[in-house]
């Protein structure tokens, strides 16, 4: 059996008296989209924040391609090839598309002490990426994010993850507040990312969206994994809803 891309073992996290995660085992294989489901407060965001370095676990180990990894901050996670598109705002709305795409990893030009950004390169690459991810309108890369629609913003976040060729792209509710067309766009990017060799974690409350793209579903309930190998092709939405709530859903007569 091939080693998994990511393995999290016995992960626990408490916020004071609140136990957000209670001994979670979670794995992501190469080239797959994992759907991470659970009700509000189940611990989904907490789990992926531990992976992306914005929260540190109280207990547990993380392995990347079988190697034990220390993820103390976002820089560590990025270095391990883990890109996260967070539920709450991943972009700086005042800055342009190009400046956001390269934020924290701006290419420079000229002598080092000048610290000068290579704006021409940034704008060129950004322009190309926008076309690749299928933004049809001709939006210049110097446009501030605040001018973009929700779907276009998600597209920019995803383009960033794709460009830096991360092995794992984590999307925390990327289809929230998106229209039908934009949602389909995001799902399309996800499939394309997987087909070009990336793995993805997809968190969403809309189970229909999840069923359309994921290869495998993991369900969290109150900080514990209650199902970890659900194949969307072999099950129904109702069955998954039961797993999420822990109750049998009685069909209305």
């Amino acid at each position: 059996m091939a080693t998994d891309l990511i393995q999290m073992k016995g992960i626990a996290k408490s916020y004071g008296p609140v136990t957000a995660l209670d001994g979670v085992d979670f794995a992501v294989r190469e080239n797959e989209i994992v759907g991470l489901l659970g009700d509000n407060g189940a611990g989904k965001s907490t789990l992926i924040k531990i992976l992306s370095g914005t929260v540190t676990a109280t207990r547990g180990d993380i392995f990347v391609r079988g190697q034990k990894a220390q993820i103390r901050n976002t820089t560590d996670a990025i270095a391990l090839g883990i890109e996260t598109i967070h539920q709450d705002s991943a972009l700086v709305t005042q800055l342009s598309i190009a400046r956001n795409l390269f934020l924290g990893r701006e290419p420079t030009i000229g002598p080092g002490f000048l610290n000068r950004m290579d704006k021409r390169k940034m704008n060129e690459v950004a322009g190309r990426l926008l076309k690749e991810i299928g933004i049809k309108k001709d939006i210049p890369a110097t446009t501030p994010i605040s001018y973009l629609s929700g779907g276009e913003r998600q597209a920019v976040s995803i383009a960033r993850a794709l460009h830096f060729d991360s092995d794992l792209i984590i999307l925390d509710e990327p289809t929230n507040n998106l229209g039908v067309e934009e949602t389909q766009g995001v799902l399309r990017f996800m499939r394309r990312a997987r087909d070009t060799g990336h793995s993805l974690i997809f968190i969403a409350h809309n189970i229909h969206h999840v069923f359309q793209v994921v290869d495998r579903i993991v369900v969290l309930r109150r900080g514990k994994v209650v199902a970890e190998d659900v194949d969307p092709k072999q099950t129904t939405i109702e069955a998954v809803e039961e797993l999420i709530t822990g109750m049998a859903i009685t069909q209305a007569a």
Partner: protein, 333 residues
């Protein structure tokens, strides 16, 4: 400088969307009005006067612009402006060290004050309003206590350093001070950092959306701490400049400058909430408020009505600026 246009937008829209548009327009109107009302306004003597003091407030405003872009501000700049020259001249007058060394020590202490501000704000997560308010009182208190409120004399010193910092010379009939060139130099360097450098992108990101910036691996706390140190440094340097020019280091000087400087920066188009800032706008804002103060006196507004005038102008300009900023968010290509 940061104009960004969507396809199809007119030149007018592009122009009004630059944050420097408003201060530039108002400055022009101001100059024309005052020049029409009183011929004295554009006289050599008056312009030389204006250019003597303006760089000193201007340097503080430059630091404040960068700091405010990162989402913080510093109320202790006025106190640092007063305290640093007192420290420097005391060290010199007491015969403890030569003037050059005393200046270096003064600047280092000021940078240390900035570091403490930054540390409290970023590590202890106390809002900069509270931290720098406390620092403002502490630093002013030290300046007053150690001098018993008396100015330090500066006239005994003779040093090349004094000429370098604020030596005067004549160009035609104009009396200019070297501080003007330091101000221009600082403005160019900071303008470059803000618009061209990688660090500048981090400054804007730190102020615009610190969570997103951190998630990209931008070291937000380190960035902000550097900017607190820079702001303190510039306030101290401005204070030293001023003490040499007026031949006195008064422990009270700089009182109230913090608010005047913040007003200049905001009028210039930098957001009080952070995320966007413009050095050119600040230079315009500084000129505007200084000319305003100067012109009002020249046209003979009674002394007691003076503050009403300034206050209402500041409010009006800020309202206009806020209105324009809402209509045209800025991108920074």
């Amino acid at each position: 400088m940061n104009s960004t246009a969507r396809p199809g937008s007119s030149i007018v829209r592009q122009l009004t969307s630059t944050p420097e548009f408003l201060p530039f327009t108002l400055l022009t109107v101001l100059v024309v009005t005052f020049a029409a009302l009183t011929p004295n306004f554009l006289s050599q003597g008056n312009l030389s006067n204006l250019l003597a003091f303006t760089p000193e407030l201007g340097m503080i405003a430059l630091g404040m612009t960068v700091l405010m872009t990162s989402g913080e501000f510093d109320l202790s700049v006025g106190s640092v402006f007063g305290f640093t020259p007192v420290l420097m001249w005391t060290l010199f007058n007491e015969g403890i060290m030569p003037l050059e060394l005393a200046m270096v020590i003064g600047l280092i202490v000021a940078v240390g004050i900035g570091f403490v501000n930054g540390w409290f704000v970023t590590r202890l997560r106390i809002p900069s309003f509270l931290v720098t308010l406390g620092m403002m009182m502490t630093v002013r208190g030290v300046a007053l206590y150690t001098t018993s409120g008396f100015p330090q004399r500066t006239w005994r010193a003779e040093s090349w350093l004094m000429d370098l910092v604020v030596g005067d010379f004549y160009v035609g009939g104009f009396r200019l001070y070297a501080s003007l060139f330091w101000f221009i130099g600082f403005a160019l360097v900071l303008g470059y950092i803000m618009t061209q450098s990688k660090f500048g992108n981090w400054i804007q990101a730190a102020g615009g959306n610190p969570i997103a910036a951190r998630a990209r691996g931008v070291r937000v706390s380190v960035t902000k701490t550097w900017l607190f140190m820079l702001t303190s440094f510039l306030a101290a340097y401005a204070g030293i400049t001023s003490s040499i020019r007026v031949s006195a280091a008064n422990p009270n000087s700089g009182t109230g400058y913090e608010l005047e400087v913040i007003a200049m920066v905001v009028i210039g188009g930098t957001a009080l909430a952070g995320g966007r800032g413009t050095i050119l706008g600040t230079v315009l804002g500084v000129l505007m408020l200084r000319m305003m103060r100067n012109g009002i006196v020249l046209i003979g507004v009674p002394g007691l009505a003076y503050n009403i005038f300034i206050g209402v102008t500041i409010l009006t300009m800020m309202a206009l600026q806020a209105y324009l900023a809402r209509r045209h968010p800025m991108g920074g290509g």
